[in-house]
C-alpha cells in the first residue's frame, strides 16, 4: 500500500474540469461512499468565471482533488441537507464567489469579507418563537483576554435551545494579502494567520513551497519540525486546560497548568527564539536545529514536566467538584460529530478517530507512529481528559525521536533567502498538518509564471464552531463558558 502523504501536488492540466452540477454530484458520491471532504472552495477565474475545488480523503487516506467550473452566480443543488459536513464550505463558497448552493438551509456569510464588511446586522439571526423564549447576545468583546466573536443564545429560562455563532470580527483579509507578496517569503504572514498555531501553519506552508519547488527538506528536518509541532500542541493543550480550570474555579489546577505551559514555551524559545515557535520553520527546512545542548535541555525539561503533569492531572481528575462540573455537560454524540464532519480534538473526544498524522502519515509518521487517542463520551470532561492524554502522547513522541541523528543539521539561524528554487507553474498543492485543533489545510495554486494565483487557508475551527453550537443545546446558559473553552476554537483562524 502506498503511503498517504500530507502534501499532494496536482498539475492543473491533469485535473478534469467538471461542470458545476456534475462536480457537485461527484462530491456527493464521495460523501455517500463515506469519504471525508477535507476542504471545498472556489476562486474567481481570470475570465470572470469561477473554479471550484474539493479535496476528498479517500478511504485509503489518499487525497483526491476534484475541480469544477461555473459561470458567475451559477447555482447547484446544495449538498448540505443530506451532508451537513459541507455546510460551512458551501457558505464560504457562496460568500467568496457568488456561486449559490440552492436549498442550503442557512446561507449566511461566514466572516463578512469584501463588500460585506461591517454589514453583520444585515443578515438575520436564527430566531426561535414561543412564550418565555428570550435571546441573549454576548460579545464580540468578552470578559476575558480573548479574541472577539458574537454568540446569540435562544433560551427558555436558563436552558439554551439554540446558539448561533457569529464570527468575522477578526477578518484581516489574509487570503488576499497572501497573493500580494512573493510566494516563497510568506512565512512570517502565514505564522500569524492563527498565531497560537504558528508551527502548524508555518510547517504546512513550508512543506507546500518545498513540494512546489521540487525539493525536500530531508528526514532530520522533518523530525525537527515534528518536534516543534508537538511542543506547540502541548503548550496549547495546557493553555486550554488552564483556562478550563479557571472557568470551573479550580484555581490550583489553573495555576499549575499555566506554569507548566511557561516551561514548555520557554524551551521552545530557547531553541528558536520565540515562545510561539515563530521563525523556526521555513521553506527549505527549519532555521534552527537541535544541538546536543538543546536536546539535553529539552530531555531534562520533559522529564520534569511529565512528573509535574501526572501529579496535577491526578489532582484534577480526582477532584469531585471538577468532575461534577464537566461530566455530562456539552455532550456531542459520535453521530453528530460524524454528520458535521468535525475534526481534531472535538471529533476525537466524541469517539471519532481522525488524525492527519495517522491518515496521511508520510515518511515522518510512518516510521514514528502517533496514536490517535479518543474518548467515548463527547462531553467537556472527555475533551479535557483527551487533552491531558494527548499531552502525554506528544511528550512520548518527542522523547522517542530526540535521539535521532542529525537533528542539529539545520544549524542556527539559517539563511532563508534563495533557499528554494522557483515554483512549478500551473499546479495545485494541498498541504495538511495536524495542528492542536485538527487539520490545518492550505491549498496553493500557481499560475503559468509560477506565481501564486490562489491561496486557500482553512483552519479546523471553520467546521468545528458548529459543533460547539450543537453541544450547548439543552444545557444551561451558564455552561457555555466551559463548553466554549473545552473546544477552544480559533476566531482569527475562522475569520482569516
Amino acid at each position: 500500500m502506498a503511503t498517504s502523504h500530507p502534501v499532494v501536488l496536482a498539475p492543473v492540466d491533469t485535473l478534469l474540469r467538471h461542470e458545476l452540477e456534475p462536480w457537485a454530484r461527484l462530491v456527493e458520491q464521495r460523501l455517500e461512499a463515506g469519504n471525508r471532504v477535507v476542504t471545498l472552495f472556489g476562486r474567481l477565474d481570470r475570465s470572470g468565471g469561477v473554479l471550484t475545488t474539493a479535496v476528498v480523503e479517500r478511504a485509503e487516506g489518499e487525497l483526491e482533488v476534484l475541480r469544477g467550473q461555473a459561470a458567475p452566480q451559477a447555482s447547484f443543488a446544495s449538498l448540505t441537507p443530506r451532508f451537513p459536513a459541507v455546510q460551512m464550505f458551501e457558505r464560504e463558497l457562496w460568500e467568496q464567489t457568488g456561486i449559490v448552493p440552492d436549498g442550503h438551509p442557512w446561507l449566511k456569510p461566514v466572516r463578512y469579507e469584501g463588500a460585506r464588511q461591517q454589514h453583520m446586522r444585515d443578515h438575520p439571526f436564527f430566531s426561535v418563537r414561543g412564550q418565555e423564549i428570550h435571546e441573549v447576545g454576548v460579545g464580540p468583546i468578552h470578559a476575558s483576554v480573548i479574541e472577539p466573536g458574537h454568540f446569540r443564545f435562544m433560551c427558555h429560562g436558563e436552558q439554551v435551545h439554540h446558539l448561533e455563532v457569529q464570527l468575522g470580527y477578526q477578518h484581516r483579509g489574509v487570503e488576499a494579502l497572501l497573493l500580494t507578496r512573493p510566494a516563497r517569503a510568506l512565512a512570517p504572514l502565514v505564522e500569524v494567520i492563527a498565531g497560537d498555531s504558528s508551527v502548524a501553519y508555518g510547517w504546512g506552508y513550508s512543506a507546500a513551497i518545498d513540494a512546489l519547488a521540487g525539493t525536500t527538506a530531508g528526514s532530520a528536518a522533518d523530525v525537527v519540525a515534528g518536534i516543534a509541532l508537538e511542543l506547540e500542541r502541548v503548550a496549547m493543550h495546557l493553555a486550554t486546560l488552564a483556562g478550563l480550570m479557571a472557568d470551573v474555579a479550580f484555581l490550583q489546577g489553573g495555576a499549575t497548568y499555566g506554569r507548566l505551559r511557561t516551561a514548555i514555551i520557554n524551551r521552545t524559545m530557547r531553541i528558536c527564539g520565540s515562545r510561539f515557535g515563530r521563525g523556526w520553520l521555513r521553506p527549505g527546512g527549519p532555521r534552527f536545529g537541535l544541538t546536543d545542548h538543546l536536546r539535553n535541555d529539552l530531555k531534562a525539561t520533559l522529564a520534569a514536566f511529565s512528573r509535574d503533569m501526572a501529579e496535577v492531572n491526578d489532582l484534577v481528575v480526582s477532584s469531585r467538584t471538577v468532575r461534577a462540573r464537566l461530566r455530562g455537560v456539552g455532550v456531542l454524540t459520535r453521530q453528530v460529530a460524524l454528520d458535521l464532519g468535525l475534526v481534531g480534538v472535538a471529533a476525537r473526544a466524541s469517539g471519532v478517530a481522525v488524525d492527519t498524522r495517522v491518515a496521511q502519515p508520510g515518511a515522518l509518521y510512518s516510521g514514528r507512529p502517533v496514536v490517535a487517542l479518543t474518548e467515548p463520551d463527547g462531553d467537556c470532561w472527555a475533551r479535557a481528559r483527551l487533552r491531558m492524554r494527548e499531552v502525554d502522547e506528544s511528550v512520548r513522541w518527542i522523547a522517542s525521536v530526540l535521539d535521532e541523528p542529525d537533528l542539529h543539521r539545520p544549524g542556527t539561524n539559517r539563511r532563508v533567502r534563495g533557499a528554494v528554487a522557483p515554483l512549478q507553474p500551473d499546479t495545485v498543492c494541498v498541504s495538511v498538518r495536524e495542528g492542536v485543533r485538527g487539520p490545518v489545510v492550505q491549498v496553493l495554486e500557481t499560475g503559468g509564471d509560477g506565481r501564486l494565483v490562489h491561496y486557500k487557508v482553512q483552519d479546523p475551527s471553520l467546521v468545528n464552531w458548529f459543533g460547539l453550537a450543537l453541544a450547548v443545546r439543552n444545557n444551561d446558559i451558564s455552561d457555555f463558558p466551559i463548553c466554549n473553552k473545552s473546544f477552544d476554537l480559533s476566531y482569527c483562524g475562522n475569520d482569516l
Binding site: 483576554v145 472577539p148 477578518h171 493553555a239 511557561t262 520565540s274
Partner: protein
C-alpha cells in the same frame, strides 16, 4: 487534600522576583544595530524584512529599524554579511512615543522610559486594564493573559485585567484593527470612564504589522486616540509589557 499539598510542594515558588532583572534565555528581540559599516551597496536586510521595518540611510545613522513594525523574525540577521545586525535579547523596548521606537546605529535601543508624574499619581497604586483584540492572532492575547499567571503575576503591582470597560483605566489594544471590529472598539472606549489611556501592544496594533496594507483594516481609532505606551514585539514578551508599564508609572519592583 494531600494531592493538593503535593502539587503545591512540587511547584514551589514560580514567580519572577524582579521582572526588571529577568533573563529570558533565548529570547530573540529586534536586531541590535552595531556601528560596523555595511557592505557597500548591500540591502539584503531591507529585501528580506517581511514588514518593511528597516531603512538604510546615508551618514552616521546608516541602518534604522522601526520596532513598531519589526516582528523579530531574525531573517535580517541571517542575511547580514558584515554582522552590522546581530541577535539581541533586550526586552526593555517599550516607548511612550511612536518616534521612540525608531532605533539604529546611533541609538540601538529605545531610551529608558521616563516616569509620568500624572500617571504615577493616578494609577501608580492601582491600574485596571481592559483588553480588546481587534484582529489579534491570539499570540498577543495569550501573552497578555500570561501576565496574570504565577510567573509574571502583575496583580502584585496592583495591575489587573478587568471584565468591564466601566472598571477600566487603560485599554490594551492588540491586533491590526479590523474594519469589522471598528464599531465595537469605539463602543468599548466610550464606555470607559475618564481619565483613561491606550496601550498599543504588538507590531500589529502599533503599525498594522504583517497585515499593513490590507483592505480589511480600519485604523482610524488610533489617529483620534494616540497610545500612551507602545509595547513592540510579535508577540511582545510579557516582560516587555510589565517593564514598560512599571517604568512609565514609576512602580517599584
Amino acid at each position: 487534600m494531600f494531592k493538593s499539598i503535593k502539587v503545591r510542594t512540587s511547584q514551589g515558588r514560580q514567580y519572577i522576583a524582579d521582572p526588571r532583572r529577568a533573563e529570558p534565555v533565548g529570547f530573540r528581540a529586534a536586531p541590535h544595530v552595531s556601528s560596523t559599516p555595511c557592505e557597500a551597496g548591500c540591502d539584503a536586510c531591507v529585501e528580506v524584512c517581511p514588514t518593511q521595518a528597516i531603512a538604510l540611510c546615508q551618514g552616521a545613522d546608516a541602518v534604522r529599524i522601526d520596532l513598531g513594525r519589526c516582528v523579530m523574525c531574525g531573517d535580517c540577521i541571517a542575511e547580514c554579511p558584515t554582522g552590522t545586525l546581530s541577535a539581541s535579547s533586550v526586552f526593555k523596548l517599550a516607548a511612550a512615543e511612536r518616534q521612540g521606537l525608531m532605533v539604529g546605529t546611533a541609538r540601538p535601543v529605545p531610551e529608558p522610559l521616563q516616569v509620568s508624574a500624572a500617571l504615577h499619581q493616578r494609577f501608580g497604586r492601582s491600574l485596571k486594564l481592559r483588553s480588546v483584540s481587534s484582529g489579534g492572532c491570539n499570540a498577543c492575547e495569550l501573552e497578555m493573559h500570561a501576565l496574570s499567571n504565577v510567573n509574571f503575576d502583575i496583580g502584585r503591582y496592583g495591575i489587573d485585567f478587568v471584565a468591564s470597560p466601566r472598571h477600566a483605566d487603560g485599554l490594551v489594544l492588540t491586533g491590526p484593527m479590523t474594519r469589522n471590529m471598528a464599531s465595537a472598539l469605539q463602543l468599548c472606549w466610550d464606555a470607559m470612564p475618564a481619565p483613561k489611556f491606550v496601550i498599543a501592544v504588538g507590531a500589529c496594533a502599533i503599525s498594522g504589522g504583517p497585515f499593513d496594507g490590507s483592505e480589511a483594516l480600519e485604523r482610524g481609532f488610533l489617529e483620534q486616540f494616540a497610545p500612551t505606551l507602545y509595547v513592540p514585539g510579535c508577540p511582545p514578551h510579557p516582560l516587555t509589557f510589565v517593564c514598560g508599564v512599571l517604568d512609565l508609572l514609576g512602580i517599584e519592583s
